[in-house]
């Protein structure tokens, strides 16, 4: 564990010196972790690959700003990949601020159906959501942010965030019911 931390520190220092081999090593080391995050915010694998390449170019260009005393490298990478993913979602659709909701209905989603599904199938269901709804659902339901934090990240109101979450739940419920009945 300590040796691994030392390796990461050395890699970071080498990346700060623009050492290409160190940059490749760091990329390969965090590829799986970062790619699973990118997939949450993308429509498909090609879109996720775009998010990854843009995010890692940003990571290496701003590596000199990384300070390990302020947080772990993994958290820093996650934040950059997530923000890049949200930028991709925003580019696909202008997030509407017209729809607002005061309260979100409790979901009627069958957990048994979800448990029987594979990760790829669940990911496909999420990819079918409209971009803004997709972003809110992932931030709220997967990442665990509350509505105020989601609203800040997406530059929308809390009511709009609630509306998108409600829409996401309805859509997923319909899809899962179709799978369960079919």
């Amino acid at each position: 564990m300590i040796a691994e931390a030392l390796d990461i520190d050395q890699l970071v220092e080498d990346c700060k010196r623009n050492n290409r081999r160190a940059q490749e090593q760091l990329f390969r080391q965090f590829y799986n972790y970062a790619m699973t995050i990118a997939l949450r915010y993308s429509r498909d694998e090609a879109d996720a690959a775009d998010i990854m390449s843009h995010a890692f170019v940003k990571i290496f260009k701003s590596m000199h700003t990384f300070d390990k005393t302020k947080g772990a490298l993994q958290t820093w990478i996650k934040r950059i990949v997530m923000n890049e993913g949200l930028d991709h979602l925003k580019a696909r659709e202008r997030f509407s601020k017209d729809m607002e909701l005061e309260t979100v209905e409790e979901p009627q989603i069958s957990n048994t159906v979800l448990e029987r599904m594979g990760a790829d199938e669940i990911m496909k269901l999420i990819h079918q959501l409209p971009p803004a709804t997709h972003a809110v659902f992932v931030l709220y339901a997967v990442e665990g942010y509350n509505h105020r934090e989601v609203a800040e990240k997406l530059n929308i109101s809390e009511g709009t965030s609630k509306w998108h979450l409600s829409e996401a739940r309805k859509t997923l419920q319909q899809q899962l019911s179709r799978i369960h009945n079919g």
Partner: protein, 202 residues
């Protein structure tokens, strides 16, 4: 953080099990191509970007450069000014008198006994160097500057101007093979020239 429902926890767990597609090489190739443009390495086309210099260090460096330029310029202009002054003043050079022990060769030509240059013979009153008493002349090393005589210039008396005697300043290298020549009885002090003020006055 929010309170996750059961189905949300299930989705999160499932998404964490998601295996990343094997596109690591393709994605790295794209990243590397972009980095080669934005952050070229030493083995590429250009140097990596230098770390930003701190503000204090930058100003200290600038201060040193400005000070160095100022010193060079001051030295240059002072040198030029001194040259200009020395060129404007009339100078008469006296031959450097060889030291007795250094150069045994003597020039005993009688005409050279009074090899004192004159700026203006007519204005002898103000001449700073006189040839009146050659016996009392003391040696002068290096060039001797004479002040110009304004009275002589304004005089109505027709003047006979003698061209200033140009004497080479460099002493020829001593020839140790030659024997000393000259008239006996003439000492080294005979060649010494002493500038006297108002030497023509009684």
């Amino acid at each position: 953080m929010n309170q996750k429902t059961t189905y949300e926890l299930t989705i999160t767990e499932k998404l964490e099990q998601l295996t990343a597609p094997d596109k690591v090489d393709a994605i790295w190739a794209r990243i590397e191509a972009q980095l080669d443009i934005d952050l070229p390495t030493d083995d590429g086309t250009a140097d990596p970007p230098a770390p930003p210099t701190s503000g204090l260090r930058k100003w200290i460096n600038r201060g040193f450069i400005i000070a160095a330029v100022a010193i060079v310029l001051t030295y240059f202009f002072n040198n030029r000014k001194q040259r200009a002054i020395s060129n404007n003043q009339p100078t008469i050079t006296a031959p450097a008198t060889p030291m007795p022990n250094e150069n045994p060769v003597r020039n005993n030509s009688p005409g050279n006994r009074n090899t004192v240059t004159q700026e203006n013979k007519q204005g002898g009153e103000n001449a700073t160097i006189s040839n009146a008493d050659s016996d009392t002349v003391t040696p002068v090393k290096g060039p001797v500057q004479l002040q110009s005589d304004s009275n002589a210039v304004n005089s109505n008396v027709p003047q006979v101007l003698y061209p200033p005697l140009v004497i080479p300043q460099k002493n020829p290298p001593p020839d140790s093979t030659k024997k000393g020549r000259g008239v006996k009885g003439i000492t080294d002090s005979d060649y010494k020239i002493v500038p006297k003020k108002d030497s023509t006055k009684p």
